[in-house]
Symmetry: C2
Subunit: 257 residues, 2 copies
């Protein structure tokens, strides 16, 4: 009812397009099978309208990576003049840079890879900090209102907390069962900091995000692969090795034709 | 400038009434000496007006315990209808119950001590949960918008995270160098939860808090002790042993007379 369908729980609650346990009568195998098919039946309340002018393959990952930035940016007040940090320039991070910049934020990208500097600037970042450089990190101390942390493996977040202004928020979207948390509450109290989890976004916000991206000519950087076992296996191995610029999209329609 | 003076840093920044390093010329011994004296010189911008009708000793701890609840309650939207959890019914917790209830929140106290049940209800709580009872904790799952966590020693906060509604906030005010944090970001992402640190509050909010407490006849529960070494030593030992109902106040004026 609040427009945050992703938090609904129980049998009538949120279920994923694929792999969610559902009644066998409706879903062969007892799990949702959608996504990799030419046609799909869905409730009209859960359909997003993608403007014709958008490249459909490059728009597809917006429904995940795009909304995963857009929703917390709305909640944590990213707007013109916000100093926004983006940790990691992968599938999620590069969308955060594009969407954050289009919202008018001053985007600082934090990455371990000097090779990504030019790319980040081209996508709309106004500053790039190499996170392994103590000097560069020190120069940005207490400068950011919001940090979008897309790292999806255990890591020390204290160096990033140091970059937040008082009352700043670090948004966590990479699920780590253990680690990637402050060591104790002390790290948050002295400057009134917040650590926030965020999960995709609601349907209303997802439509708003697509409309926003269409208006600002924002698309995901993708590599398109055919829906053949070999091609998908190679893409999978490369995804595991973090070797993807920046999202793989499986071209089911072309393959089925 | 934002009314959050407690976050100002550097030589011109926030300094405590006592024990803060300051120039020797102004502060004998090189640290601030205020608080335990009959008179004190302060900048007029940092004076709070306490209405005459308030009992001055019982109002004194509001300047710390009171604002430490009031400020985050404003920031995290505690108002009529908010389901507010208060963990721990000590000096800070009992103020959170009184102030939260006066704001119109439905206050649930979480405590290990069944003996505190009646006391919590008398202070304005509408519900008391014994945190060591798995049944009672389960009955309150996903029921709270905001949790005010006043525990000041390492503890597992996951049982409290389970009590939050989606997008709920747990406010940490007890400084713990290690522990009292989620194990990993997973614990926050699935339901969009937030862990927030909070530090006292600004001068403007402190005055608003005093006015609010005066209007709602809210005072701190105190034990008044004279400013003699023996009495202070006993109070100190009892404070360490968590044997205080609910704040000690040192009656400097009476002692000096």
């Amino acid at each position: 009812m609040a427009g945050e369908e992703q938090f609904c729980s129980g049998p009538g609650g949120m279920h994923g397009t694929y792999g969610s346990e559902r009644p066998e009568a409706l879903h062969p195998g007892g799990v949702t099978q959608g996504g990799y098919s030419s046609d799909i039946v869905v409730d009209e309340n859960y359909v997003i309208k993608v403007p014709r002018k958008m490249h459909v393959a490059a728009a597809a990952p917006l429904l995940c990576a795009g909304i995963t930035c857009y929703s917390p940016f709305l909640k944590y007040g990213v707007k013109a003049g916000t100093n926004l940090g983006v940790v990691g320039l992968g599938g999620l991070g590069h969308m955060a840079v594009k969407i954050g910049a289009a919202m008018g934020a001053n985007v600082t990208v934090l990455t371990r890879s000097p090779a990504k500097r030019e790319l980040a600037l081209a996508m709309g970042a106004s500053k790039v900090i190499i996170s392994t450089s103590a000097d560069e990190m020190a120069s940005a101390a207490k400068s950011l209102h919001v940090i979008y942390n897309s790292i999806a493996f255990p890591h020390d977040i204290h160096p990033y907390l140091n970059l937040l202004k008082s009352q700043g928020t670090i948004v966590m979207i990479g699920g780590v069962p253990e680690g990637a948390m402050p060591k104790g509450s002390f790290a948050l109290i002295g400057r009134g900091l917040r650590v926030a989890g965020s999960l995709i976004g609601g349907i209303r916000d997802t439509q708003a995000m697509i409309d926003f991206c269409a208006e600002h000519d924002i698309l995901c950087e993708i590599e398109l692969v055919p829906a053949t076992p070999d091609a998908v296996d190679v893409a999978w191995e490369r995804a595991i090795a973090a070797d993807v610029k920046f999202r793989f999209v499986i071209d089911t329609a072309a393959t089925l034709e």
